[in-house]
Amino acid sequence: MATEQSQRTGGGPRTGGGTLSGVTRWMENLSETGFAYLLLTPALLLLGTIALWPLLSTFRLSLFADSLTGGLGNFAGIQNYVAVLTGQRNALLPAPFLPSSLTVDALFGSALTVTLIFTVVSVFFETIIGFGQALVLNQDFRGRRWVRVAIIIPWAVPIVIQGMLFYLLFQPGIGLFIGREGNPTILQTLGPFSATPLANTVDATLIIIVADIWKTTAFMALLILAGLQSIDRTLYDVARVAGASKWQTFKRITFPLVLPSVLVAMLFRTIQAMRIYGVIETVAGCTTVPSLSCLVISSFNNTLVGTSATIAFITAGIIALVVSVYIFKYAREEMG
């Protein structure tokens, strides 16, 4: 640093001794690129050690066989991936990765399919309800501010409390939806729920889907609302002059123009839904609903380090696949 002090002609404001002014002058004389990277250093250092290194390291771990002592076994190449993806590893895992058959129990009981079912169903309902909420918030009415607060609040609830809330709501005898023995509620006699829904895989998955819709629809609504508000108002005036009905206006103007925002919102929700873990752990436990993230942790706890890393990386791969599908669709929407 001291060597730079010779460059007196730099843009330095005041001259004077001391290391502080030396550093300042050194900074003034950096090129724009140098200055940019200097300011980025702390952020990149943190992301490098706490995000990039773990990712690469997880990939490395996934290339080694499991060892019973909890350490790493021999180098195995892609054998872990082959074993997990073909279902050969199912017997060793706390829950199967792939379903062994196409029965309802097998589909809800294995990590990949239960995660996909959860993601598709919850994102589908969140999109529809979120669109409805966005249309409501897009109106001008008295108390709009408070309606918006009410809609956002579930989004701000900590995951563990969201889990506790639904754990209590579906607690037999306590919760509104599940009665005690001999006194079943209408949801049990007519339909989906058994006497102990929190211990039943299919029921618990349904409850977790409802919990997720309750909490995260607000996020969807806010993104769609931003899309709605960016629509040029004059288009609506034109439509009114042309005598279009409300439905026609929605179909021809609102919907196509808001679609890119809806896709972005769906993309974000899909990414987040694929990593579902906390609600499951709180509501029903990972043995009842074994999502992909659950399986990573539970196989790690069973000293299957290599397999655990493999599943973590496959999860990331599936998310990357979903992201590229959405980006492809989004690009097509933007072009056409």
């Binding site: 943190l46 995000a51 290194w53 701000a156 900590p158 995951i159 809330l165 306590i174 942790i297």
Partner: protein
């Protein structure tokens, strides 16, 4: 779900429903605006009901006395607010709350400093490698926490660098929180810094202010709303986080375990030592900080979430 949305309608369209229903229908057919208006109120009340009802029910469950727990329904069966004290006497819930808030505030401070610098660079400077770096930061935020977990767990247990053991300390949570939530703040601040006109910074530079001086005295004050937005969102995200909060400590309040561990401790103590009302009361208490934050800072939350997400 459960509730009849129609139940709230008389308030809003009272004068219409009081008269014969047919007359209202006839009027609506002549004037569709009326029907849309009524539909709008029904839908709004339905949304308000589904989002707020669970909180009301949690409160009803919390104040129901222990011996009447199985009678709780839409209304509380009795009134006994002492559970709100039990939460703190049966387990050290205040310590969990304190830990959560300290972790959230510390992470927010770190993220704001680092993300301000990065946001300034991405929003106002041009340099080679800029778009690649932004894309890389975006890509990192796509990965699930599970993909970072194993190496970080080994690192924080001293298996990578001997002597460096962060498990059961705040560092084991603050480091992952900071790196996982920083990308959102970087994107929010990039947008805000990018909107400040170049002329202001140039003027300050001509008058002899240093680069850093211009950043802290001109740019930062102008982008204060952006910094506040990023701060609010980071605080909420950390306070609400589950994955690392749960896995990077053994759940003891003395080991910096946050409310995740507190709520789970209430739940796992079972219905004998800890009643369902205490669980409900604990949940209400732990939700208060973020609920207040949402009421105060809702504009910032809305603008921040949309700016961060639509930036892409």
């Amino acid at each position: 779900m459960a509730g009849e949305p129609e139940s709230g309608r008389p308030d809003d369209t009272g004068e219409l429903t009081r008269g014969p229903f047919e007359r209202w229908v006839a009027k609506s057919i002549k004037n569709p605006e009326r029907a849309y208006r009524a539909m709008f109120y029904v839908v709004t009340i339905f949304f308000l009901f589904t989002t707020l009802f669970p909180f009301y029910w949690l409160l009803a469950l919390a104040v129901t006395p222990e011996d009447a727990l199985y009678e709780v329904g839409l209304l509380p069966a009795g009134f006994d607010p002492t559970v709100f004290v039990d939460v703190f006497t049966k387990i050290p819930f205040h310590v969990y709350m304190f830990n959560s808030i300290v972790l959230a505030v510390t992470t927010t401070a770190i993220v704001l400093v680092l993300a301000s610098l990065a946001g300034y660079v991405f929003g106002r400077l041009d340099f080679p490698g800029k778009s690649v770096l932004m894309l890389a930061i975006l890509a990192i935020s796509y990965f699930p926490p599970a993909a970072f977990f194993l190496p970080l767990w080994q690192l924080f247990n001293g298996n990578v660098i001997t002597g460096l053991e962060l498990y059961n300390t705040p560092g084991a949570m603050i480091l992952p929180f900071s790196s996982l939530f920083m990308p959102l703040s970087i994107f929010i601040l990039t947008t805000f810094f990018g909107q400040i006109p170049d002329g202001l910074e140039d003027a300050a530079r001509v008058e002899g202010t240093t680069r850093l001086g211009a950043l802290f005295r001109v740019i930062m004050p102008l982008s204060a709303p952006g910094v506040a937005t990023a701060g609010v969102l980071t605080f909420i995200a950390v306070y609400n986080e589950f994955f690392f909060s749960y896995l990077m400590n053994n759940g003891e309040p003395s080991n910096w375990a946050p409310i995740v561990a507190g709520i789970l401790q209430l739940q796992r103590a079972g219905q004998f030592q800890i009643t369902y009302s205490v669980m409900a009361a604990g949940s209400i208490i732990a939700v208060l900080p973020v609920a207040i934050l949402v009421v105060i800072a809702q504009e910032k939350i809305v603008s921040g979430l949309t700016a961060g997400a639509l930036k892409e």
